[in-house]
Structure formats: C-alpha cells, structure tokens
Amino acid sequence: MKGVLGACVGEVGAQLVAGAVTAVEVCEAALARQAAVAALRPFITTTHHTARLAAAAAHRRYECGKPLGALDGIPVAVKDNFCVQGILTTCGSRMLTPYVPPYSATVVERLLGAGAVLMGKTNLDEFAMGSGTLDSSFGPSKNIYRSGMKYSLGGTEKYPTSGLEDGDWVVAGGSSGGSALAVATGTAYLALGSDTGGSVRNPSSYCGVVGLKPSYGVVPRWGLVSLVNSMDVPGLVGRCVDDVAAMLAVVAGLDPKDSTSVSSDLKGLQLPPAPSLAGVVVGVPREYHQPGTSREVVEAWTRLADTMEEAGAEVMNCPPGFHAAHRALHRLLLHPQPLRGGVQLHPLHRRGVRAQGGGGAVHGGTVCPDAAGGLNEVVRGRVLAGNYFLLKENRKKYFEQALKVRRLIWQDFEAVWRSGVSLLLTPTTPTPALRYSEFSALDNRTQVAAQDICTQAANMAGVGAVSVPVGMGRQGVPLALQLMAPRGHDAHLLAAAKWIEQHVNFPRLLMSSNYLINTLFIYLFTGTTTCRSRSLL
C-alpha cells in the first residue's frame, strides 16, 4: 500500500489483481493526496462522491475477478474543458460557471467505461488560451516543484527541493496545467488535457510528466470545448510512457460523432518491454534552436541525440527546406495568432450571459447581448481578433495568409518524412519552467509565443508529438524534450519515448507520504480551497 500513488498503472494494476491493494484504498489515498495538494490548485471541481462510487464498483469487479481492463479502478483527472455529464464544466471561465453539461465527451465516456475513477476537473487558462494556467477565473495553478510541499526526487539529493524565497513559485505551464499537476502530485495516474499549440506538452514538460499530443483525428473531440477546431486534440498525461499508451488504447478510435476522427489500430496497444532504436532515423531541426533557448535545454537535447545515435539510431540534421515556413510560423506567432478561436466563442458567451443575467434585453424587437463582463482580457482580445481577421476586407490579408503558412508547414513535414526521417527530436519548450515573478513580467501573448514556439507546428501539421522528461535543471525544475512522428505513427512515437524514459533515468518526484500533516497545514493556513463537489445524479 505504501507508495502506491507513486507507482505506474501497470504496477498498481498488478496489485489490484493480486488483491494486495483495493480500488477503494487507491481512491482514498488519491482523495487524501488531492486534499493535501489543493493549495497548488490542480482542480477546479473535485468529485469525491462519484469517485468513491466508481472505486467501489471497480472493487467489486476485482473481487469477482472481472476487471474491465488496465484502467479499471485507476484514478484519473479531466481538464475542465471536456464535458462530463452532470458535472460542472467551466473551461476556467466565470462565463461558464453555471454550466452542467447533459452529456459526456467521447473520451470521458471511454475512460469511465473502462473503469477509471474520476477525481475531478482540472484547472486551465480561460478557454485554454494561455501557456501558464495563470489566466483562469479560478486562480492560477502552481507547480509542485519548489512549492514548499515536501517531496523527494527519486532518491537523489542533487537538486534543490525547498520552497522559493519571497513567496515566489514555479509556473505549472498550460493551458492544461491542472492536468499535468494532478499527475505530477500523484492525485491521478493519468489525465486528459487538450493540446492546440502545446497545451499538453508544455505543462507536462514543466511538471516532469509525459504529455502526448496524438495525431489529429486519432482521439475524437466530441465534448471537448474547442479553441481551434482544426488543431485541437485531446492530449494524454501520465507519469510513465506505458501508462499513456494504456490510456491511448482506451480513448483512441473512430467516433461517428466527430467527422474528423479516424480509425486506428491502437485498441490493444502495448509497447515492447525494451524498445529498440534500430532503423530509426532521428531528425534534429536546427530551427528549433531559437534565441533564448536555455543552455540546460540545449545540453539535454544534444546529449540525448548523442545517446540515441550511440544506441543505433541514425541522427541527421533536417533538410534546409524546413526553414522557410517555420520562420513564417514564428513571425505569425508573434502576431496575434489564434485566428479562429474567437469566433467560436459566441455560443459560450451567450450561454453564460443567459445563465447569469437572465436573458438579453429586448429593444424595439431586437435582442442585444449583455456586456461581455465575464471574459478575461485575453479571451476578449482573441474574440475580437478572430472576428477582425474574418472581415471581408481582411480575409485575404490575414486569414488566407495564415492558411497558406499552415499548408507550407504541412508540406515541410511531408518533405522531412519523405527524406527518410522517422522521428524529430526538439526541445518541448525553450526553457524549463520559469518562476512566476519572471513569467508574469510578460503578457499572455508573449508567454504563449515564447513557450509554444516548439510545439505549435505539430498542431498545424496534425502530426503526433510527445514531451518526455529527460532530466533536472540546476534550479530543481524538470527538463523535457519533444519527439514528433508522422501522422498515424503514434505507437512508434510512444515506443521511442519509452526508450528515452528507460535511458535518461529521470528522477521521479515522490510526495511525502505524510500527507495528513500536509492537509492539516493547508486547511489551517491557506483557509480556502477550490474544491467543490457535485453529485452525478
């Protein structure tokens, strides 16, 4: 039982099957952990009641010897922009505060259908617009690293683990910061996030966990409140690559409710116990070495490329054709980039208005919406920008140009794969997680532009990408690198990620088992938590 929250899904599963631990015990441990780390604000809504019901049901199945599969009884967390029937879904926005969806997202249905135990809905930047999980209506999420909470790093004492001075703290990344944090703290083994420009990979890299952005269409989007439909994908977060693979096997697959979903043969996905790099061609695109990339990241990147080469992979620089479109992309990123997100927020906006204000006002037979008081500046700015870019006179100038850039990036990737490259190795983010004091000195747009620069292209091209923790920085925050693979090669991508995991010896974070004391501390000294529970019924 001791340390069960630090284990991987496979290990817990084996214990559950053997009866060494029960699903109810796992759930209670996770609930206690959830309470212990509440001050870091991984969750907007916690779901104790339904979690206990689900755990009890899983427990009965294990007792009968008929578990539903690898995820039966496993605590999971879901980003609060996935609809879960009967449970508040806010998208991190006051605008949707009263919204309780009457239906569940396909991925949520698949997870719960596989016996997973939902711990709650995780924090995010309002409508997933951001890369810090700072711009949430419910307050920021704070990284566990250097938070002052007690943890150890896989036995090593090389890196600092103490809290930062002057009340400063480390940014969790975003926009799926709550999901990455839930996994990093051991509250959930796995979590769902959404990735439009790096929103799963970025916080995963900052929080030292594995974050997968599957190929576009592999994991269906029905029930995911969109940011940019054509780039959004549900993303997967876990502590081990194998866990993420087990989760992918459950959530992937064609969904008739999502016309952009594709069928895949990931149902029985199991990664080889010791993946090999034989025959793998690793491309290292120099364009990703941006000014401002930290030395630690570049060193980790170079070191890993060397290690992979020594292990039998062919490592090569990417063809120069990869340059042009990426430069264009970077320019684009420095301009207001979400061209479409805004427009789609209309329905949300109105839903919020109605629920809060009791309806629009009637003026001489026309209906006017109430003021958009409930949206933060970032979201309002993007709504306006989206509308502006689509105006007749601007369409050609901005919207169509952006589509062109996107097509070029797509072609760049195609050319790279054609040249024989089977994997691209890049940093996930140019720097490891920044301190809040550094990060908040930048505005949201610059944060996004700087932090999503390595991750955005994968969304534009629809390819699969995974962020894997590879080491620790001197400041005691994790370093991570990103792998990208051709569209549909998600299994290969994960196998390579597993190889990395096995060879980098990343010191995994373990929370102090003394969580009761922690909990007490939090209730006594912080006074508030964001925990709210809702019944499914």
Binding site: N81, F82, C83, T89, C91, L96, Y99, P101, P102, Y103, A105, R221, W222, G223, L224, V225, S226, V228, N229, S230, P256, K257, D258, S259, T260, R340, V343, H346, P347, L348, H349, R350, R351, G360, V362, G365, T366, V367, P369, N387, L390, L391, K392, R395, F399
Partner: protein
C-alpha cells in the same frame, strides 16, 4: 393615359396580348428582372447534422438536441440521406454535381441561432450550373402557355435556423428551436424572370420536380418550401438596377403579390428620380405590401470561414472511366434512381396521346389524375382525347361536387374505360356517360357501366331504318309542329320535334343521326 399608368398596365396585363413568349419591354420602358432563391427542406427523418427528429408540428423546443442548441463541445456530423437527396435534386435540375464541396460558417448574431453561425456551403457548393425549363401557364391571365428557362446557379446544403416569435403584447421574444438544424437545400436561380406569373410558374415546376423525386414535400404553408425574391427594374439594354430582396415568401400568392407590389414601388421611386435601396424586405400578408426589415438594414459581413469540423465532402461517379471510387457517395447510383421528370411526362403525353399542352400540364400537375388516365389508356385502342375529356370534364365534375379525390373514386379506372369504350363505339351518348357516372359516383350504384346501360336500355339505336320509322311516327303524331315549322322555318319547332323523338319511351335514339334524318324529311 400618362406614361406611368401605361407602364403599369404593361406589367400587369402585358402577357394578355396573346403572345407565346414574354414580350420584351420596349425601349424606354421599365423591365422587371427577378431572381429567386428557394429554400427547400429536405424530406428526412433527422436533422442535417444530428440524429434529432425533424417531425413537423411538434410542441415547441421538443425537437432539439445538443448540437442544435449549441452545447459547448458538440460537433456536426453530416446526414448522408440529406446529401443523397441534394444530389438527386441537382441531377433532376440538370446541374453538375461537384466531386468536392465544402461547408462554411456564416456568422451572424440572432437569438434563434444559438451557435452564432449557420453551417452552409458558400464557396464550394454541392452542385452548380443547372437549368430549369418550365411552362408559364396561368389560365386566369394567359391565353396560351409558353415555355421559359432559368439557370440554376448553385445548389447548396445548409442548416435552418430556429424561429423567433415576437410577442409584441408582452414585449418578449420567444425562441423555438425545433426548426434549428433542419436540412435545407438552397437553390439559387439566375435573374431571368420578368413577372410574378413567371416566378410562380417556376416555383410550381420546382415543387413538382422535388415532390416527384421525393426530396422535399414542398408544403409552402408549412414552410418546407420558402422563396426569397430579388427584384429590380431597368431599361432594356442598360445594366441591371439595384435590387431589393423580399424574404420568406411562403405561398405562390404572396410571391406574385410581393413581386407586383415591388415592381410598382420601385417604379414609383425611379419615375420620381429616386434610387432604390439595396435592402431586405418582408411581405405583409394583410396589407399586401413589402416592408423594410429594419434589423437587416445594414449590410452584414458574415465573416465566412471554412467549417473545420467537417472534412470536405467528396463524391465519385462510377460511370466515368477514370473514376477512382474515392468518396462517400456514388453520383451514378443516385442518377439512376431519378424517375421521369414532369417536363418529360408532358412531352410524352403530347407526343404519344396527342393531348393538348394544357391537358398535359393539368395531368402532370396532379400525379393521381395522371395515374388514372394512364390506367384508362392501358388499352391503347381508346381515344386519348375522348378519355381525357370525359375524365377532366365529366368525372371530375361529379367527384368535385361530391368532394371525392380521384384516388377514392367509386368509378374505377377500368370501369371508366368501359364508359369510354361505349361512348367511342357510339353505343351511348355523352349525356348517358354522364348519367352512368352520376349513378356510380353520386348514387352509389355498384353495377358496372355496361350493366347499368343494359338495365336502363341506354344503348342508343343507330340503325337507319329503325330511326326513320321512329321519325316518321313522330312526324305523324305531331302534324301541328310540322306545319308550324314549314310555315315559319323556326328552329324552335325543329328542336321540339327532336325532343319528341328523344322522349320516345323504350328507345334510345342516336340523336346525331336523328338530326340528319329529320332535317332531310322536313326540308325536302
């Protein structure tokens, strides 16, 4: 008569001139130019982008799903049946079905559109470049039908919006989303019409075709076929004038009245040196006037963008040798399911049965009547003109008086055929045919026409000798009338004698022959 009145009379009565074509306006006269956009609701059990039912007349807001109400996180999934219906319609209208079409978002902010945008096809529609040939035939104002043709510019699939109900008493707006997401085909036609009658005839033809192929029930009063009319005036030879769009016309009557009103209104403006405003107007059924829709006064920028949640719609045509069979539907499959269309039927009736064009139009306008006629004509020895006359004049007369639809006629097509045969062989007269129909349809006589004729001794005698003897007998018995006729040569005495022959009991004389015999005898 001043110029304006003259011009008005041209618009209203110009087609009375008896010409077979639309009379082009003379130099200097205003010519109306009309283009129609038709929204036809596809006959389908579920909505365009969800599995929610489309049943008509359900209580408000009961036919609404997650997608129609724009719940966050919902996505559209395209109803295949609706695509099939739209392809079928495109083929029936002679249009080219595009192998690749795409959906677009059209943004506007209105309470009956919860998503804030409508999914439609703007840039790459499902089909384009069709042509509609139709007959303009309005017996009330036109002497003879004439043929007209209009281009179908494009056919696109789109979702309908909900309905806003403005409750002015309590100053509230109520929204019914039952209609939201209903599958529509928008048919955009070229500005090639010149009068309300042409517009009505065109809509009628579209309705006939769509009903025939089963893609739309075309019930205008239920809103399943709605027409927007773009109307402008110009002088022939000059560029087209500024148009006004009259939205949501839901009957042929409204369509004609709205066009007539607009022509007059715009003419008034132009004559007095004003300018027509490019605007959207609605038709007030009470006042028979069009009024500007204030909230749509400002030209909207719909901020179109490709719908990212629906991949492009790809189709293939397996009849093409180079076909790669890549796509969701085979156009060829659908093409072979298109039945014979109204215009082809009309031509066949005129060609094969030598019917007049008017008669052919009448039959094609009513499927059941046509089926009845064709059943009668399954015996090709029958005279089609005689059959159609008896059917349209005599039988429909009885049935209409009794308010019976042709499909429920107590007189079956085969029994009707017997009457045609009896009449064609000269065995009965026209009035006897009518009597038989009256007996069967009016009085519920269940015997066959032949049985009725024999029982009543209604077979007319056409034997010359018998008839001569009969005439002689009447002449002998009515010497007074014979004398009067011979003295005064008045027709009424002749007719009186004819009447005496007709009234002779126990014999049904062929009166046509009697007429000849009698006049020979009296005038010799």
């Amino acid at each position: 008569m001043n110029y304006r009145v003259l011009a008005r009379s041209f618009h209203k009565f110009g087609h009375l001139s008896g010409s077979l074509q639309h009379t082009p306006a003379q130099r200097g006269e205003w010519e109306p130019v009309i283009g129609l956009e038709i929204h036809a609701q596809i006959t389908s059990v579920s909505k365009l982008f969800s599995r929610v039912s489309t049943e008509y007349g359900a209580p408000p807001n009961t036919q609404v799903g997650l997608f129609e109400s724009a719940h966050p996180g919902t996505l559209p999934f395209l109803n295949k049946r609706c695509v099939e219906a739209a392809i079928k319609t495109a083929i029936a209208l002679g249009a080219t079905v595009n192998k690749m079409s795409r959906f677009d978002r059209k943004h506007y902010f209105y309470p009956d559109l919860p998503a804030g945008y409508q999914i439609t096809q703007a840039e790459f529609p499902l089909a384009s470049n069709g042509k509609l040939d139709f007959m303009v035939h309005d017996p009330e104002v036109l002497k003879a039908p004439y043929r007209h043709a209009v281009d179908l510019i494009q056919l696109q699939l789109e979702e309908d919006s909900g309905k806003s109900i403005h409750d002015t008493d309590s100053n509230r707006v109520l929204v019914d989303l039952n209609r939201a997401g209903q599958p529509l085909m928008e048919l955009v036609f070229g500005p090639q019409l010149h009068s309300g009658e042409e517009a009505a005839a065109m809509v009628k033809e579209v309705a006939l075709i769509l009903t025939k192929i089963g893609t739309c029930d075309c019930r205008m009063h239920e809103g399943s076929l709605r027409v927007d009319a773009n109307i402008s005036l110009h002088r022939p030879g000059e560029p087209l004038g500024t148009r006004a769009e009259v939205k949501n016309l839901n009957s042929l009557r409204s369509l004609m009245k709205a066009i007539a009103f607009e022509i007059e209104r715009q003419q008034g403006i132009l004559e007095s040196g004003g300018e027509v405003v490019n605007e959207t107007r609605s038709f007030d059924i009470e006042s028979k006037e069009t009024v500007s829709m204030r909230d749509k006064e400002v030209l909207q920028d719909y901020r179109f963008m490709p719908e990212p949640n629906l991949p492009p719609l790809r189709l293939y045509d397996s009849s093409e040798p180079s076909c790669d069979m890549q796509g969701s539907l085979d156009i060829h499959d659908i093409r072979s399911s298109v039945p014979e269309l109204p215009e082809a039927v009309r031509q066949r009736l005129v060609r094969d049965y030598k019917l007049s064009l008017e008669t052919a139009i009448t039959f094609v306008n009513e499927d059941d009547l046509l089926a009845y006629f064709l059943a009668v004509m399954s015996d090709r020895r029958r005279d089609p003109r005689l059959a159609s006359n008896l059917l349209l004049t005599n039988l429909l007369g009885v049935l209409n008086a009794k308010d019976i639809h042709i499909t429920n006629s107590p007189l079956s097509a085969s029994a009707f055929g017997e009457i045609v045969d009896l009449r064609q062989s000269g065995n009965i007269s026209t009035s006897t045919s009518q009597n038989i129909m009256n007996a069967i349809c009016g009085d519920g006589d269940s015997r066959t026409p032949t049985q009725i004729v024999h029982a009543n001794n209604w077979i007319q005698v056409s034997d010359e000798d018998t008839l001569e003897k009969l005439v002689d007998k009447v002449l002998r018995e009515h010497q007074d009338l014979v004398q009067k006729y011979k003295q005064k040569k008045k027709k009424k005495f002749f007719n009186a004698l004819m009447g005496k022959v007709k009234k002779t009991p126990s014999i049904m004389a062929n009166m046509k022959m009697v007429d000849g015999i009698l006049s020979k005898k009296l005038n010799s």
